[in-house]
Each structure stands twice: as structure tokens, then as C-alpha cells.
């Protein structure tokens, strides 16, 4: 029975900076910066180990159109290893690395195919003189591709399996740029056996069969907003059998975002112990990788004031850092304090006094009342300040968080003093 085994990966973003961290210990910076490269190397290692027939990369190899040449060289070295092992690689570029910024001075190894941006090309994958499959693909010629590229695909009667490689937003997924939009139904039409998709960073098997439509997700998380294992799919296509796609984690550094309810903890020591226990548990789950975890402390606690004080937060941070300072692989904890005092906001709001008015006003602000007053209060920074464009992307959820934090600021000072 003919089988075709390949690795499907996408969104390598191999020269991307990590995001969403306010500070990183210098000793960890290098490892974090190298993580995307390392993740790609892990894929190459996997390909060599599994002796796959091909490696397919569905866009966004690089993070920025003006990617660093060093990143390209490193990427090329990985491809060279594949090529030397006789494993062909197929690359379709996405919105982050469109062809128009591709350096034409780099020569790629023999077995590397970069799909063009003006048409869908089909390239065979041969093994022992037999055509195992044809890989169809198209790259983003530029960043803002809003055309439906799926419509350009068509199985042309080539022998072997047909695998479509596309960087696209299938089904108009919210929270993602609507590049190369298409629908699942449109992916049915070209007669592919497997759609190797890129663009969505969270892996997803959109459809398991006929055809299989799969987002492999990114190979390495770059912020705590991308928690959990990241990697690629090891795909096996066999005649008469449904496609088999097995996820393999390739990330070099694991990002996690966790909340820890400390409402039952009555001392800072207990909170610290709870934090360390949770982080150690996460480190154990990271499978020998470095771990970056954003741990958000929540809940109403008697020691809320101590925690939110500068000294309290700093002290906790230092204790955590000292605890994990020598751990290998590394553990980096980004501590976010979102606890509340142990007062009952709802009860306070039901009173007839000043505090009740304060709480009521906060509740009204949280549901969108008094927008003008809010705008006016925030205007000096968010509207009038010269650098406000850096804050344009702050969202409604940010505002909700500010209102929540503002309420804590007030109630911590007024209610605790009663």
C-alpha cells in the first residue's frame, strides 16, 4: 500500500521577538530569542528521525517582512540538512513573509521548493522512482492578500496524493487577520487529500477527512497568550485509509498563562508556597523545556493590601525568582496581581452612603455608562499625548481591567480604613 508521510508545520516566525513580557532576566533572553530557531531545528530533527517523505511549511516562516538575514541563513541551514538527507521541503509564504520582501540573493538547497505568488504550482514528491504525491501551493506575493487563493487550486490529475499548502483564514476566524479568506466548502472543491494550512497559531483539525483540513498552529509560542504545547503534525496519507495527523510538540520554550485563586490564603507565605507549587507543577508538564508562565493571582484575600503594595509585590517576585534562579531548564514567572480586598463590593454598593455611590459609579462605568467622563479622564494620555499611537490597540477589555483596578485603588484605601 502506498503511503506518504510528511511533516506539516506553519507559522515558524523564526525571527520573532517574544511579546507580552515586561522584563526578562538577561540569562534567559538568549534562550527565548533562540527558541523559534530551536523549534524549527526540532522539526528538522524530527524529519530526519522519522525519515519523512517531505516537509511542508504553510507560511509565515519569518515574523516580519524585513526579516533578518541571519534568520534566513539559519533557516537555510535547516533546509540544507533536509536536502542532504534527501527530504524535499515545500514552502508557501504567508502574510508575515510575503515574496516581495524575499531576499533574492539567497540560494536555496536543491530539494527546496518555494511556491510562487502568482499561481498555484504542483510539485511531485518522488520515492524510489514512484510519485508519492503532488504538493500544490501558492505564496503570498505581498502582505495584504485579500483574494480567495483557495479558488486557484485544482487537482490536475497528477498521480499520488494531493496536498494543498495555503496560508489562509478559513471560515473568517475572529481575532485573526482576514488574509486569503475562504470557506471549508471551498476547500472541498479542488479535490485535495490534505490541506496543510497556516495562519492560525492554535492548532486545529478543522476537518479530519475528505479532505483533511488542518491548522498545525505555530511551532513555538511567542507570548503567554499562546499557552500550551506548540509544534507540528506528522501526517500519514495512505490509500484507503483516512489521513492520520499526529501532533508532535516542537517548542523549545513553553509559555503558560495560569490564574491562582489565593482567596483561601491568609498570609503572604502561604501565597508564596501556593505559587511555587503551581509553577513547579507547570514546569513538570513542560517536558524538559524552559517555561515562561504568567501567573495571575486572583480572589479576595485579607492580605490583598500587602500583596499590591510595592514592597509586597516586589518581595514575592524576588522570592519566586530566587527559588527558580538555578532551575534547569529555566523557569520564568511573570507575576500578575489581580487580587481584591476581602470586602463585599456588592454589599457596599447596596448601602446609602458615599461608598455606595462610589461602587455604583464604578459599576456604571464598567457597563459603559459615563463614557464622556471616562474619555475626559483618560484624554491626557490616550488622546492628547504624543505617543498615544502606541496605546491605540488597547481594547475594551483593557478598559474593563482599568475600571476594575481603579475600583480596587479606591476601595483599598477607603474601605480598609473604615
Amino acid at each position: 500500500m502506498t503511503t506518504f508521510r510528511f511533516i506539516h508545520c506553519a507559522d515558524l516566525h523564526i525571527d520573532s521577538p517574544f511579546k507580552g513580557l515586561s522584563a526578562i532576566e538577561p540569562r534567559l533572553t538568549e534562550q527565548l530569542l533562540e527558541s523559534t530557531f530551536q523549534a524549527f531545528n526540532n522539526i528538522v530533527d524530527l524529519a530526519l528521525c522519522e525519515r519523512v517523505d517531505a516537509v511542508i511549511i504553510a507560511g509565515d516562516v519569518y515574523d516580519s517582512a524585513d526579516r533578518s538575514l541571519k534568520a534566513q541563513f539559519k533557516f537555510r541551514r535547516g533546509l540544507e540538512r533536509l536536502s542532504r538527507a534527501g527530504i524535499p521541503a515545500f514552502i508557501a509564504h504567508g502574510n508575515h513573509d510575503p515574496l516581495d520582501r524575499w531576499s533574492n540573493r539567497l540560494d536555496w538547497p536543491d530539494l527546496v521548493t518555494v511556491f510562487p505568488g502568482d499561481r498555484v504550482e504542483a510539485h511531485p514528491v518522488m520515492k524510489n522512482g514512484e510519485t508519492l504525491a503532488h504538493i500544490y501551493g501558492i505564496s503570498f506575493p505581498r502582505r495584504d492578500v485579500t483574494e480567495n487563493l483557495a479558488l486557484l487550486f485544482n487537482r490536475e490529475g497528477h498521480p499520488g496524493f494531493a496536498v494543498g499548502v495555503l496560508h489562509a483564514n478559513v471560515g473568517g476566524r475572529p481575532g485573526h487577520d482576514p488574509y486569503a479568506p475562504c470557506t471549508v466548502a471551498e476547500l472541498h472543491a479542488p479535490g485535495m487529500d490534505y490541506w496543510a494550512l497556516g495562519h492560525i497559531h492554535t492548532r486545529e483539525v478543522v476537518q479530519a477527512d475528505s479532505p483533511a483540513i488542518v491548522y498545525s498552529g505555530n511551532t513555538q509560542a511567542r507570548s503567554v497568550r499562546e499557552p500550551g504545547p506548540r509544534g507540528c503534525y506528522l501526517v500519514t496519507l495512505a490509500q484507503g485509509a483516512p489521513p492520520e495527523a499526529r501532533f508532535i510538540a516542537t517548542d523549545a520554550v513553553r509559555f503558560e498563562a495560569e490564574t491562582l485563586d489565593v482567596s483561601r490564603q491568609e498570609t503572604l507565605d502561604n501565597i508564596l508556597r501556593a505559587i511555587l507549587a503551581r509553577v513547579e507543577s507547570l514546569a513538570g508538564e513542560a517536558g524538559g523545556r524552559g517555561l515562561v508562565v504568567r501567573l495571575t493571582l486572583t480572589g479576595r484575600t485579607r492580605v490583598h493590601s500587602e500583596i499590591v503594595s510595592t514592597g509586597g509585590r516586589q518581595g514575592l517576585g524576588e522570592e519566586i525568582q530566587n527559588y527558580f534562579e538555578t532551575s534547569d531548564p529555566f523557569v520564568c514567572v511573570d507575576l500578575v496581581v489581580d487580587t481584591r480586598g476581602d470586602y463585599d463590593v456588592r454589599a457596599l454598593g447596596q448601602g446609602q452612603d458615599f461608598i455606595a455611590d462610589v461602587v455604583t459609579l464604578f459599576q456604571e462605568a464598567a457597563v459603559g455608562k459615563h463614557p464622556e467622563a471616562l474619555e475626559k479622564a483618560l484624554a491626557p494620555l490616550f488622546a492628547d499625548w504624543g505617543g498615544n499611537n502606541l496605546l491605540k490597540d488597547m481594547t475594551a477589555s483593557d478598559r474593563a481591567a482599568w475600571i476594575e483596578k481603579a475600583q480596587s485603588l479606591v476601595l483599598d484605601r477607603l474601605v480598609d480604613h473604615r
Binding site: 533572553t29 530569542l33 516580519s64 541571519k70 467622563a373 479606591v410
Partner: protein, 894 residues
């Protein structure tokens, strides 16, 4: 609860007095000053809430603990129950009794129930107050009053502190035009990082362009290199011509000079050196000949000056023999004196020894003294017999002496009675006799008997003592024997001594000489004999010496006449003679040597002459062989040959030098030809021009290489640049920090905005009912001038006039302030009574600072206020009393 009567047992100026009866509604107590109005007010306070502790600093109104003190209030509750509250001073405020229809109840807890659990402070500050308390803001500041005034939770609210804190947080984060705040600092870093990212990205965009530029530059560099190579070749050729032209010219000139010189063949090698050698040899030989002739002349002069003493040389054997004996003569002369002195000394010792033997003794007697072995034995025997005889005499004498000592000691050892015995006996005799006499005389017979016994005992003892007297000595036979023995021994010894003395006399020896000394005499005799022999030997040696000296003197005298020399001069004369002989022999030898030397020198001069003649002949042959007519001609020909050689070497050198630069064969021929056609100056100009062009091309090449290096470095940097990712990461972190800071700032500003909004809402909509009521009352009192009493959320009370203007406490007049406080108290009372037992309101002359209009309005207000309750006012003014009465107040006079 309302008061009907006040009964005073003892308090202040009151004793067992009742004040009343008070009605519901408005009551007015009128009395002049010091009639006890304030005392009554205080009594009501103390009966209801306790007397002060003795330690408190207050007016006790003359109160003492115990009966007859305190007071009682007759009251009626809101429910109509009549109670009597009585209290006396004591601990914990004093015991309180609540008399009810059901019986007496005790304790403040029970009373508290009737008072609606109003506190002492509430009653004092709100219900029963004086003008002083009305004027004091502090009287409304107790916690409960505050709570009732402003509502729960706001009285001590630290809103301003909270606002300040939050304001400070936001100020630290951001100020619109600030640059030191965290947001501004983060923004500054972000802009810098963004600029760096942009720079790096711009650089990345130029990678392809840079690589093309690099290729282009390398091609340019290659072209330039070829051009420089061509110019280098050209410049080298020109330089060679310039460098070698003087060399070639020199070679040419040398050739021409060589051709012009005389060609001399077969000229000997090293001719000049050879000629010089001949000349030098000739000069050398001439000098040697002169030296030898002078030497010969000197030798002959020395020979003539020498003479030889042949006579002396003829007696050489004898002189040598005499010379050989010189040392022996010297020894004899030296030893002769010594030997004579030794001989004299020996003779003196012989005399000395002879005199030691005896005065008449000399050398001859000593030599004649005979001392045979038999004589020696006889003398020893004589000596032994004499010693034995003397020993016997000593022994006999010792025995006799010993015997005599023994005898003497035997006499001394016989015993005698001691003296005390006689004394005792005499004592007994005396005492006994006296006692017996006294006893007899006294008739004491027993006593006289005892004394008689004592007398008898003393008599006996006396007799015994008298019997012990010694006897005279008798003749000792042993003494006699021993004495005889001694005499015999002495006689024997004397005989032997006489024999010895006879022997001494025979030998001519001293009569006192003891036998044991005879050996010494014999020894002296032996020594004298040895010394005589020594003296004879010395005398013999002296005779031989005298012979030797005489013989030498005689021989010397045979060589020279004159008087005989003293022996001491002999060695010097012999030495002088020896020296004369040596001088004669030396002259003889030198004469022979000089004669031989003269002969040798003459031979040498002859040989040198011969060699000089040969050298002259060889020189003439040499000049002839060189074709020279003489030495000067020879030197000229030699100079021509030397010059020809120099020119040949020079020509070869120039050829080699040129060939080293241009090569041999055809290249050399071409170069030689080009040199011949060369125009001096033109080549230098060509060279200068080519060099300038070359330098220019080199500069271009260097510049190009620098650009290639820079471009190469740039390309490599672009290819290996890690900065982009790092800087982007830093930028992302900074952006994230900025968002965090912005969020913190936003939270702070929202908090402040909400607090401001809440503050406004509170002041507008959420003033306590007390203040609303107080505002209405104040409006009534002030005739509508002030319409509102407002308590800002975190500030002091203000009153607001009808146009919205606000006035703080400190800004009010005293009257207005008192009216405000009165209004607040009335408001509080209304508020209080909604939930609690109403209490009587008692005011002590609190309106004295009100003007007429407001005073009138207050009384009217009070009358209305008192309708549902009981109000008791106190005044000392009759006019006020009338006003109160006009408004229906019940007057009570004290």
C-alpha cells in the same frame, strides 16, 4: 420622656427643694443670675447619666457622697408611665433608683432603657446644653453625634488622603508635559528602540543592493589592478633606464681609455714589489756591514785594555790550599777562647769540691783518698752498731720513765673521806650535846635520850673519819733495775762513738762527721777525679789549636814579607789573596774570548760584502727582463699595466650590473642600443609622468579596496546581525511595559474621576436628613438668608445661601454660627426621636447672641418645635420671658 418635677435633695445652692411643675411643650425657667438655672440643668444631666468621679476636673456643686445629696426627677414616659429617677453621688456615677408603680428598679442599665439608650454625650450635646456648649464645634464631634449627623461610614473618611495617594501614583506615571515620569521615560526608550529597529531593517533591505555593489566594486578593482600592472611595467623599464644610464656611460668611457693605452706584454707580475724587495735587500746589507765593522773595532779596543798577573797564577795551588784552610783557622780562633774558659771553670770546680770535703782538703788529697768496698762495709757496720746502742739507751730510759709514772699514779689513787662527813659528825655532836643538855635541864628525858643517841652517832662518825689518814712510801727494786740497765746502755753507746771518732781522724775528716755522711765524701772525691780528667783533655785541644794557627801564619808569610800578623787577621789576608788570584784568572779568560770574537767578526764582514755584490747583479738582471732601461722606466711601465687592468674590471662590472637588471643576450643588446639613442632628461620626464599616473591609480585602488572592505563588512554584518531580534524583543518588552504603565495611570485617573463624581453626588443628593432639617431650621431662623447646611464628603460644615454661595464655620459670625449649631441640634433631635425615646430638651440662655429678629423667629420656631415634645428654656431676661410667654411657654420662676 418628659420631666414633671425636679426635686433637689442637695446640689449647689439648692437644698431639699422642688422645681416644677413642667408641662409638655415649651417651658421657660426664669430667674436672675446666680439663682441656679445652670445648676438645675447640670443636676438633670447628672441624675440621668451619673455624677462625675471625684478625680474629674469639674464643678462638683458642693456634692459629697451619701444621703441628703443628689436629686430626683419626676418623669412621664412616651407610653404614659410615671417614674421617679433619683440618684445620689457615689462610685460609677452614683446609685440610681427608678421608682415605678411596680416598685423600685436599680441601675443605669434599667435607666438606659427608659432613656432610649441615649448616651451621656448625646444628651449633653444635643438635648441639654448651655450657651458655651452651643458655641463649641467640638460639642458635636463625638462619634455618635457625628454618626447621626453624617450617616455611617463617612465621618472619618480619609477621602482626601486616598485621593492624594492616587493622584501621586498617576503623577509618578504621567504628566502631560513631563519627561521624568515613567510613561515618558518608557516612551523615550521605545522611540530609541524603534529607531534602531528601523535602522536595522533599512539595512536589511539594502542587502541585495549591497551585494551587487560589492560585485561591481570587485570588477572595478580587477580592472584597476590590470592597469596598475601595466603602468608598473612601464615605470620599471623607465626607472631601469634612468638608473643604468650612468653605469653604461661609465663603461663606455672605460673602453675608450683602454683602447688609447700602450699595450705592454710580458711584464712581470708584481714587478713593483719585486723591485722594492731588491732595493730593500741592498740597503739592509749595507747597514749590516757597517754595524759589524763598528763592532770589530770596539772588541779590539777592549782587548788592548786587558792585563794578566802571571806570577800569581803560578802559585795558584798553594794559594788555593791556604784558601781552603781559611774556615778551619776561623773555627780555631773562635773555639780557642771557649776552651780556655771551660778549662778554667773545671779547675775552679775541683777546688770547690775539695773544700766541701774538708778545710785541709785539695786536689792532691782527694786524688790520694782511698775508699774501698771493705772500708765502705766497715763504716756501715759502725753506723749500724752505733744506732743500735743509741736505741737501747732510749729504750732503757723510756722504761725507767714509764715505771716512775706508774708509781706516781698508784699513790694518787688511794681513797679519802670527804670533808662534809667531818662537818656532819661535828654537827651531830654539837646538836646532840646541846639537845641533851636542854632536855636534861628541862626535864625532858625522852628528848634528852634522843639527843644522847644523836650525840653517840656523831661521836661514832667522828671516830671513823679520823681512822682514814695516809702512810709514808717505801724503796722500789724495779726502779733500781731499770736505772742500771740505762747506765749500761749509755756506756755501750759511748764506746762505739769513740771508735768512730778515731776512724775520722785517720782519714783527715771532720770529727763531727757521721757515719752516714761518709758516702757523700766518697762521691765528692769521685767527682773531683772526673773533673781532673776533663781539664787535662781541654788543655790538650788548646795545644793543637795553637799549632794550626802557627802553621797558617807561616805559610802566608811566604807570599808576602812584612811583620808577622796577629792570628785574628789571618782569615782576611787569606781572602784578599784569593780574590787577587780570581781577578788574574778572569782577565786571562776575557782576553781569550775577545780574541776569538775579533776573528768571527772579520769573517762575517767578508760574507756580507759578498752577498751585496750578488744582490746588485740580480737587480740588474731583473730590470733587463722587464724591458726597462732603469728603475724609473720600470715604474712607468708598471703604472700602464695597472691602469689597463682597472679599466677591464670596470667594463666587466658595468656589463654585469646592466645584465642583472635587463638580462643578457638580446635584451642586453637592445638595452645597450637604447642607451646609445637615449636623450638625457626625456626619460626622467616619462618616468615622472608614469609614476604620477601610477600613484593616482594606486589611490583609486586603495579607495576601492576600502569601499570593498566596508561593503563586505556591511554585508557580513547584515547577514550575521542578531541585533534586530534582540532590539525587537526589547522594544516589545518596553511596549508591554508602557501599556502596563498606561493601564496603571488609567486606573488612577478613573479612580480619581469616580471619586470626584461621587463627591458631587454626595453633596448634592446624599446629605443626611439631619443636615437637610438643619438647613430648613436655619433658613427659618435667618429668614431665608441661608437655605442649606452641607457637609462636604471630607470637609467641615458649610452653609449655602439662596444663591449657592457657601460659608465655612470660621467665616460665620458668632450669632450665625450659634444659629447653625442650634439648627443642627434641633435637626438631630428630630432625627433622634424617630427611632428613640424622646428626651426633654433643655437650653440655658442660648439665644443671647441672636439679634431681635432672629431671636423672635427662634422662639417662634421653638414653640412650634416643642409641640410634640418637651422643651425647657432658661433665661434671666424678663423680656425674653415675655416673648416665650407670648408663644405659649409655661413660666416657672426660681
Amino acid at each position: 420622656m418628659q420631666i414633671r418635677d425636679i426635686y433637689i435633695e442637695g446640689f449647689g445652692r439648692f437644698r431639699d427643694q422642688k422645681v416644677g411643675t413642667f408641662e409638655p411643650g415649651l417651658n421657660v425657667i426664669h430667674g436672675p443670675n446666680e439663682m441656679g438655672k445652670t445648676t438645675l440643668l447640670e443636676l438633670v444631666r447628672r441624675v440621668l447619666f451619673g455624677f462625675p468621679d471625684r478625680r474629674e476636673n469639674t464643678n462638683f456643686y458642693g456634692m459629697q457622697p451619701g444621703p441628703g445629696q443628689g436629686g430626683r426627677l419626676h418623669c412621664v414616659t412616651r407610653g404614659g408611665e410615671v417614674i421617679h429617677i433619683s440618684r445620689q453621688p457615689g462610685t460609677s456615677g452614683g446609685p440610681v433608683i427608678i421608682g415605678t408603680e411596680a416598685g423600685d428598679l436599680h441601675g443605669d442599665a434599667i435607666l438606659g432603657g427608659y432613656l432610649g439608650h441615649a448616651s451621656k454625650d448625646i444628651f449633653r450635646n444635643i438635648f441639654a446644653f448651655t450657651i458655651d456648649e452651643l458655641q463649641s464645634l467640638d460639642s458635636l464631634s463625638d462619634k455618635e453625634t457625628q454618626s447621626r449627623l453624617y450617616g455611617a461610614g463617612l465621618g472619618s473618611l480619609s477621602l482626601a488622603q486616598a485621593e492624594n495617594e492616587i493622584e501621586k501614583i498617576t503623577q509618578d506615571l504621567f504628566k502631560p508635559r513631563g519627561s521624568a515620569q515613567k510613561v515618558a521615560q518608557a516612551y523615550k526608550r521605545i522611540r530609541e528602540l524603534a529607531r534602531r529597529v528601523q535602522e536595522i531593517q533599512d539595512g536589511l533591505g539594502t542587502y541585495d543592493q549591497r551585494v551587487s555593489e560589492l560585485d561591481n566594486l570587485r570588477q572595478q578593482a580587477e580592472r584597476l589592478r590590470q592597469e596598475i600592472d601595466r603602468l608598473e611595467t612601464r615605470r620599471h623599464a623607465l626607472q631601469t633606464r634612468v638608473d643604468l644610464f650612468p653605469v653604461a656611460l661609465e663603461g663606455q668611457q672605460a673602453k675608450e681609455e683602454l683602447a688609447a693605452l700602450e699595450n705592454i706584454s710580458d711584464f712581470p707580475e708584481h714587478g713593483l714589489e719585486t723591485l722594492a724587495a731588491y732595493k730593500s735587500e741592498e740597503k739592509n746589507l749595507a747597514r749590516q756591514i757597517d754595524d759589524e765593522r763598528n763592532g770589530l773595532k770596539l772588541t779590539e779596543q777592549r782587548l788592548e785594555g786587558l792585563t794578566v798577573d802571571q806570577d800569581l797564577l803560578g802559585q795558584e795551588t798553594e794559594i788555593l790550599a791556604l784558601k781552603e784552610s781559611t774556615q778551619e783557622i776561623r773555627n780555631v780562633l773562635k773555639d780557642r777562647l771557649t776552651l780556655e774558659r771551660d778549662r778554667d771553670q773545671v779547675s775552679a770546680r775541683i777546688e770547690e769540691n775539695a773544700r766541701q770535703i774538708g778545710p785541709q782538703w785539695d786536689e792532691a788529697r782527694a786524688m790520694a783518698f782511698a775508699w774501698s768496698e771493705a772500708e765502705r762495709a766497715a763504716v756501715q757496720q759502725q753506723q749500724q752498731a752505733l744506732e743500735e746502742a743509741r736505741g737501747e739507751v732510749r729504750a732503757a730510759r723510756e722504761k725507767l720513765n714509764y715505771h716512775r709514772e706508774q708509781q706516781a699514779s698508784g699513790q694518787a689513787q688511794k681513797p679519802n673521806a670527804p670533808g662534809w662527813v667531818a662537818l656532819f659528825a661535828w654537827s651531830l655532836l654539837g646538836a646532840g650535846a646541846a639537845g641533851a643538855l636542854w632536855g636534861l635541864a628541862a626535864g625532858e628525858r625522852l628528848f634528852a635520850f634522843a639527843m644522847g643517841l644523836m650525840l653517840a652517832f656523831g661521836l661514832g662518825l667522828f671516830v671513823l673519819q679520823r681512822r682514814e689518814k695516809p702512810r709514808p712510801p717505801e724503796e722500789d727494786p724495779r726502779e733500781i733495775t731499770l736505772r742500771q740497765n740505762l747506765e749500761r746502755a749509755e756506756q755501750n753507746a759511748a764506746g762505739l762513738a769513740a771508735t768512730w771518732r778515731a776512724w775520722l781522724e785517720e782519714k783527715h775528716l771532720a770529727p763531727g762527721l757521721m757515719p752516714q755522711d761518709a758516702e757523700r765524701v766518697a762521691a765528692l772525691v769521685r767527682e773531683i777525679r772526673a773533673q781532673v780528667r776533663e781539664r787535662d783533655r781541654l788543655s790538650e785541644r788548646l795545644a793543637k789549636m795553637r799549632e794550626t794557627i802557627g802553621q797558617a801564619a807561616r805559610r802566608l808569610h811566604s807570599f808576602s814579607s812584612g811583620p808577622e800578623l796577629p792570628p785574628e787577621d789571618l782569615p782576611a789576608r787569606i781572602q784578599h789573596l784569593g780574590q787577587a788570584l780570581e781577578a788574574a784568572r778572569a782577565n786571562q779568560r776575557e782576553t781569550a774570548t775577545l780574541q776569538s770574537q775579533c776573528r768571527e767578526q772579520a769573517d762575517k764582514i767578508a760574507r756580507l760584502e759578498k752577498r751585496r755584490a750578488e744582490n746588485s747583479a740580480e737587480l740588474a738582471r731583473f730590470l733587463e727582463s722587464a724591458g726597462a732601461s732603469g728603475e724609473d722606466d720600470f715604474k712607468r711601465r708598471q703604472a700602464v699595466c695597472d691602469r689597463r687592468r682597472e679599466l677591464s674590471v670596470l667594463i666587466e662590472g658595468t656589463v654585469r650590473q646592466i645584465q642583472a637588471r635587463v638580462g643578457t643576450g638580446e635584451a642586453f643588446a637592445d638595452f645597450s642600443e637604447s642607451i646609445r639613442t637615449l636623450v638625457p632628461g626625456e626619460v626622467e620626464r616619462d618616468l615622472e609622468r608614469v609614476s604620477a599616473e601610477l600613484a593616482s591609480q594606486q589611490e583609486q585602488k586603495d579607495a576601492l579596496n576600502r569601499r570593498i572592505g566596508e561593503t563586505q563588512t556591511h554585508v557580513e554584518q547584515l547577514a550575521s546581525n542578531d541585533d534586530l531580534l534582540k532590539t525587537q524583543a526589547e522594544l516589545e518588552m518596553e511596549k508591554h511595559q508602557l501599556r502596563g504603565l498606561a493601564g496603571e495611570w488609567a486606573a488612577g485617573r478613573i479612580a480619581l474621576a469616580v471619586l470626584a463624581a461621587a463627591r458631587g453626588k454626595y453633596e448634592q443628593d446624599r446629605q443626611p436628613q439631619v443636615l437637610i432639617s438643619a438647613g430648613d431650621i436655619l433658613s427659618t431662623i435667618t429668614g431665608g438668608k441661608y437655605v442649606k447646611v452641607i457637609k462636604p464628603v471630607d470637609g467641615d460644615l458649610v452653609i449655602e445661601d439662596d444663591s449657592g454661595g457657601r460659608l465655612g464655620i470660621l467665616e460665620m459670625s458668632r450669632g450665625t454660627r450659634e444659629q447653625l449649631y442650634l439648627a443642627m441640634r434641633l435637626g438631630l433631635i428630630e432625627e433622634y426621636e424617630k427611632r428613640s425615646e424622646p428626651l426633654p430638651v433643655i437650653m440655658d440662655d442660648v439665644f443671647i447672641n441672636f439679634d431681635d429678629a432672629r431671636g423672635e423667629r427662634v422662639v417662634e420656631l421653638l414653640a412650634k418645635f416643642a409641640r410634640p415634645r418637651q422643651v425647657i428654656v432658661m433665661t434671666c431676661h424678663a423680656r425674653s420671658l415675655e416673648i416665650y410667654k407670648k408663644h405659649g411657654a409655661r413660666p416657672i420662676h426660681i
